[in-house]
């Protein structure tokens, strides 16, 4: 458990400073999904982890970073929230509550990190005066790691290490009918993430395609991969026609 908490806390910490940007889009914004899989492997119940992570991810799916502002810290919600919940073996719906709470907490930590990191800019200005190019490496990469360690590693570790047993104990007093209720809630929650996404993607002219996707799944029972492939084909066709006013490829 100590090691488990350690690993997760390290991931959260790295995600907030030295995580390469090409990884960030997946391990940061996709953290519930990936956290579910990692925890599933660590705890030895991969199926539980995959379903758990995916359910939580569905809720956070519609969240995007607008001009540097993080509305809800998906990174914290994923790696800490999912870990705590999975160790206590709860239903995904409880996991969402835990994650949503942590996400809100993280949204406080992030502005703090960005404010404190300004210190390094002034040091970097001094390095620039001296023409010291190595200084920029220290200020851009190494220095922010320290702040992120305090803001992210320490709280994450504490929450996981002490929080999981507390959650576990709390779950033990919950009656069976409530637990079944939670399962139903867990099935409803993805609707929220999808609704948030719809907000981003909605264009009246595209509604037929929404229905097309719905029908392919609901009536034809196609899996997501064939649906995506068909969808990609349609998208390519659309692109070809709109580029040249007629397919000439």
């Amino acid at each position: 458990m100590f090691l488990h908490a350690l690993v997760m806390a390290v991931i959260v910490w790295i995600n907030n400073c030295i995580c390469p940007m090409w990884l960030k889009w997946s391990v940061y914004l996709g953290s519930p999904l990936i956290a579910g899989a990692i925890n599933g492997l660590i705890l030895g119940d991969l199926q539980y982890g995959l379903v758990f992570g995916a359910t939580i991810m569905m809720v956070f799916m519609g969240i995007s970073v607008v001009g540097g502002a993080v509305p809800s810290d998906v990174n914290l919600a994923g790696y800490v929230g999912v870990t705590v919940s999975m160790i206590a073996k709860v239903d995904p719906s409880i996991g969402v509550t835990v994650s949503a709470t942590l996400g809100a907490l993280g949204a406080i930590a992030n502005p703090l990190l960005m404010t404190l990191n300004s210190m390094w800019v002034h040091r970097a200005d001094k390095y620039a005066e001296e023409g010291n190019t190595n200084g920029i490496f220290y200020m851009n990469v190494l220095a922010p790691m320290g702040i992120a360690f305090v803001l992210y590693f320490i709280p994450s570790f504490i929450i996981i290490y002490f929080g999981a047993p507390i959650l576990d104990a709390a779950m033990a007093v919950i009656p069976a009918w409530l637990l079944t209720g939670f399962v139903t809630v867990g099935k409803l929650l993805p609707a929220l993430g999808l609704a948030l996404l719809m907000q981003l993607l909605f264009k009246k002219a595209m509604l037929p395609f929404f229905m097309f996707g719905f029908v392919m799944s609901a009536y034809l029972n196609l899996g997501i991969v064939p649906i995506a492939i068909i969808g990609a084909g349609i998208a390519v066709l659309h692109y070809m026609y709109s580029q040249k006013g007629g397919a000439q490829a």
Binding site: T97, F182, T184, L207
Partner: protein, 286 residues
């Protein structure tokens, strides 16, 4: 696609009499941007530290023994800078090219270089945020989650690999096209309407996948069944015969209505808890 040959040709046709950037400098610069561009993200200069970091190999190649040159270059690039990470790589490439020219032609002043950065960081952020987050991430996440919900570990793996490939490929292309063709490359692409068509095509794929997910990832149904006049009536079968996945669709539409109306997310989640628990208790939902 910009090939190694083309990049080398570009660096060779630059005017003689100046230090030229090598492919390895450009690659190092691109790599630093796409890895550490946001490592020191802060409110005062946003990605300023990251951008300067990505210019480090360029500066070191162009001013190896010129402390003054290095110093003014660093100062030039520590300014306020914020754009989307993947598409914005084009700016880094363009700036690298301009810095290379400037090393032999001082008439390219700070204002010229800064002007290009300022002009382009906005539009590329606009395009990038939409394509990367609303489109590519949605599509990959949709497929990943659906696979994971079915218990397939390829889900998270696909998402991880897919996003990484997109990021690395796109930023690499953007950087080197920016280096080779300068700021004209951006205006050309904007002018050709390609971006608009690509965005639309991706939007179609995105909303199609969304529709499929509404049907497959909202698992609510109704376990309600009763006996009327000796006949067993199963609500789920009745609903299914009218429209399969009707309840998930209804849940989605209702939630969407609330989201658009601006209801706070915490309120919606709380409402879902109530509806779910009560619905499950009375045997209507499950």
């Amino acid at each position: 696609m910009t090939t190694t040959k083309e990049v080398n040709a570009a660096t060779e046709t630059k005017d003689s009499g100046g230090v030229r950037l090598r492919k390895e400098d450009l690659t190092k610069s691109w790599l630093r941007w796409v890895t550490f561009g946001q490592a020191g993200y802060n409110y005062e200069r946003m990605q300023g530290l990251g951008f300067c970091h990505s210019m480090k190999p360029i500066i070191e190649r162009l001013y190896p023994n010129d402390k003054q040159g290095r110093s003014s270059a660093m100062k030039r690039h520590l300014t306020y800078y914020n754009t989307e990470n993947n598409w914005g790589a084009a700016i880094a490439g363009i700036v690298a090219s301009m810095e290379e020219d400037r090393a032999s032609d001082p008439s390219i002043n700070d204002e010229a270089i800064n002007g290009v950065k300022m002009a382009l960081m906005g539009p590329l952020a606009g395009i990038g945020d939409t394509v990367t987050q609303s489109l590519v991430k949605t599509i990959l996440l949709g497929i990943g989650c659906s696979l994971a919900m079915g218990g397939n570990i390829l889900g998270p793996i696909l998402f991880l690999v897919g996003m990484s490939v997109y990021t690395l490929l796109l930023s690499h292309q953007a950087y080197f096209i920016g280096y080779k063709s300068g700021k004209a490359s951006v205006t050309n692409i904007l002018r050709s309407g390609t971006i608009k068509n690509v965005t639309e095509a991706l939007g179609i794929l995105g909303i199609l996948v969304l529709g499929a997910m509404v049907a497959s990832n909202i698992g609510v149904g109704t376990p309600f069944s009763t006996v009327v006049g000796g006949m067993e009536i199963n609500l789920q079968s009745i609903l299914d015969s009218i429209l399969p996945k009707m309840i998930p669709l209804a849940a989605f539409l209702v939630t969407y209505r609330f989201v658009v109306k601006g209801v706070k997310l915490t309120v919606i989640i709380a409402a879902m808890f109530i509806v779910g628990i009560v619905g499950s208790l009375i045997g209507l939902l499950g």
